[in-house]
Symmetry: C2
Subunit: 438 residues, 2 copies
């Protein structure tokens, strides 16, 4: 499939390049040209086959890299709006865990696809997913053509270091849509023995490790009690991050923690929607930036957030930083846009999905600038971060194929079938829970 996208504004996100008027061409899963109108005209004058399967007039709208959702639990779509406005312990123990215990591999396949629809409708082209059944999740990604990076979810109750190693070997390099990174759920849900085994895996494969770290003050206090160290310091002391990696949330950290993150080349993956809704706190984004710790952005799962919407997250990243720092100039729009695209890609090991440059994978979105929230066009980056909305997403391409366009989805299954599956799963699990109680 060769596609020509012309009459576009292009924000490559390479270096700090300004948006320019031009064209972008794809061949198979890759970008083969991205340049100005003049450069495109010159290129077309050269000999060689420049026929395209599809030519798309972008009508002056913006092409940019797709958003990278750097932390989520996709299949928790089932739990959306089921357990809100509750304190964290009730939320987990009375609502989340009992339902999750009833979810099958097949349920997770369908519920993950429901999340893909939401990602696509908001311009997200890849997600960094931690959940229960890696094989059925990988199947969903391959069937839908959605770029999926999974991370190990080991804790004392589910998965194992052996499974993580198996998945690491099985899911990497198999198809263009799937990859897998070593990880575990969190310090507070894993025994020391388990953590040491994960650290040994990291050493064996010289690979980065990702996990939830320092999401709540309670978690940090618990770790200090157990090990006399903060979660970052304790995990690092096991050699966990010798080859880098990162932490999801990282809300409650001290200067020593930040120093460790910096030294190990780790990513801070921030989840402001979830941290807000669950009252966990505000992550110190400005301090990460000052220290040179790269920040990426994740929605977290739909039970905690509950939207899978990078526009909302981007506004929250900068807005909450401004509130926390008491400074309206904190964490500017260009910085946030980089977190949501380039940094996310790098955190997820997707080094060739970060920018719109020749040779990179064709994971891109078209943003409709002819909507009132994008007018007038004083500054495109600021428009995207401060007034942008998922309703501005006109087209989403992954690996060179269009997966979403003007409200229609192209993932091999209709949205109404996916919604019906989710409602069926919900009804079945509700029935099972009722029977259990009776």
């Amino acid at each position: 499939m060769k596609t020509r996208l012309y009459n576009a504004r292009i924000l490559t996100m390479a270096d700090d390049a300004e948006p320019f008027r031009g064209e972008l061409w794809t061949d198979g899963g890759r970008i083969i040209f991205a340049g100005t109108d003049q450069e495109a005209a010159e290129k077309r004058r050269l000999p060689g086959d420049l026929s395209f399967d599809e030519e798309i007039d972008c009508s002056g709208n913006l092409l940019m890299p797709g958003f990278k959702n750097a932390h989520t639990h996709s299949a928790m779509t089932l739990l959306r709006s089921r357990a809100d406005d509750l304190p964290l312990d009730k939320w987990l123990n009375e609502q989340i865990f009992p339902v999750e215990a009833k979810m099958t591999e097949d349920d997770i396949y369908h519920l993950t696809k429901l999340a893909f629809l939401e990602y696509l409708s908001g311009g997200i082209t890849a997600c960094f997913d931690m959940y229960l059944t890696p094989r059925s999740i990988a199947r969903a990604a391959k069937d839908a053509g959605f770029r999926m990076v999974q991370v190990g979810a080991v804790n004392n109750f589910s998965q194992s270091p052996e499974l993580v190693e198996e998945m690491y070997r099985e899911l990497n390099g198999k198809d263009p849509f799937n990859s897998y990174i070593i990880g575990f759920h969190a310090e507070y849900t894993c025994s020391r023995d388990l953590l040491e085994k994960i650290a040994a895996l990291a050493e064996k494969y010289k690979a980065p490790v990702y996990t939830h770290i320092s999401e709540t003050a309670f978690e940090v206090a618990g770790c200090r009690e157990r090990y006399g160290m903060s979660p970052v310091a304790f995990l690092d002391s096991l050699g966990m991050f010798r080859y880098g990696g990162g932490g999801y949330h990282l809300v409650h950290v001290d200067d020593d923690d930040i120093e460790i993150l910096k030294e190990r080349g780790m990513y801070a993956v921030t989840n402001p929607g979830s941290n807000t809704k669950l009252a966990s706190g505000i992550a110190p984004i400005s301090r990460y930036l000052t220290a040179g710790v790269p920040v990426a952005i994740g929605t977290d799962g739909p039970a905690s957030n509950n939207a899978l919407d990078m526009f909302r997250e981007m506004f929250l990243v900068t807005g909450l930083a401004k509130l926390k720092d008491n400074d309206a100039s904190s964490v500017d729009a260009a910085e946030v846009l980089k977190m949501a695209t380039v940094n996310g890609a790098h955190a997820m090991g997707l080094d060739d999905c970060d920018t719109l440059e020749v040779g990179k994978r064709a994971d891109l979105i078209m943003i409709d600038l002819m909507q009132p929230n994008m007018q007038p066009v004083n500054n495109i980056r600021k428009n995207l971060v401060y007034s942008g909305s998922k309703s501005n997403v006109k087209l989403v391409m992954i690996e060179g194929d269009i997966r979403y366009r003007d409200g229609e989805f192209f993932i091999g299954e209709s949205p109404s079938d996916i919604y019906a599956q989710a409602e069926e799963i919900k009804a079945r699990i509700d029935r099972e829970m009722k029977e259990q109680k009776a």
Copy 2:
């Protein structure tokens, strides 16, 4: 115009009624029926003319009252993304004021219409607008068929108590789209003499008064220095709120302030997007609720926010309250939805635009539930507040007429013409500012 909306879920927002399956009929600007399918069938069996000009199959989607944007400066669309990521004083003095000084009545007409487009695209059916040229703003509302409540914007540099009185008499009761409420910009921009004249107007018309109050800690400290009282207490001491009214922002208040708000029957109009982006602080929403002070929600203007999006504001109202209170159960979704609809209407004096009941004005929206962020439908109110998005808005009706449907606007002028006007105004003002500097 008689319209029948059938095959709908209806959330009337009257009392705490749950959504039900049914129909809603309008005649002229009013709702003439809202009931279950069975009630509708019975009604249709009675004798009498039940022909409709239009019958709309809602396909199971949700009808609910339109959102009420209870504080904004619509025409500041021009300034969107022009002055972000700056400290407040630089923002105002170097970017906002010099541009505003060059805006004409006619500019404001067009720029207000640009805001209407954004309101409609996000399900907002009415706004409470404070800006410079009331007559051209009223003309924009009438021409577009958008419900506009203006409030006086007097300060030491523009407008006057005489103009406020003139507009109060001229704009109320003239056409169904316009009304006007007594008000002034803020304590810190008005002399005591000016404030006393406004208070006298309130007394003369036994009318409520609205103004910006206690937005920043700096403002409150200044007022204490000038008058030895908080802004709420000082303004109240002038008799300003004898007939009620309300304050925009109300971020920095003490218990005595809240007591005054309660006693005077005042509304706290919260603006979390703006307060976040300008680092003003988090309003004490839970304390207002506990004290029985009704809360409404506004976007503030597009230079401060920069989106005019009630979905973003709703998430921020509850999210920031949860953070501030360190409690994930603070300010639940049903409460927030009431603020964004019923309370907003009441704060703006639109007592017949608050709910979907017979006799009320037909200001309503249809929410597309068949989008991934609304699935599965565990709880409609929570879906709206926690995962809803302006992309879910399928149809907007004001005064019985459809003004927005499936991405198309019906306000008597095309969006592209309005965008072109805004770009032209921007270019002209930029040119004038350049010439001034040279």
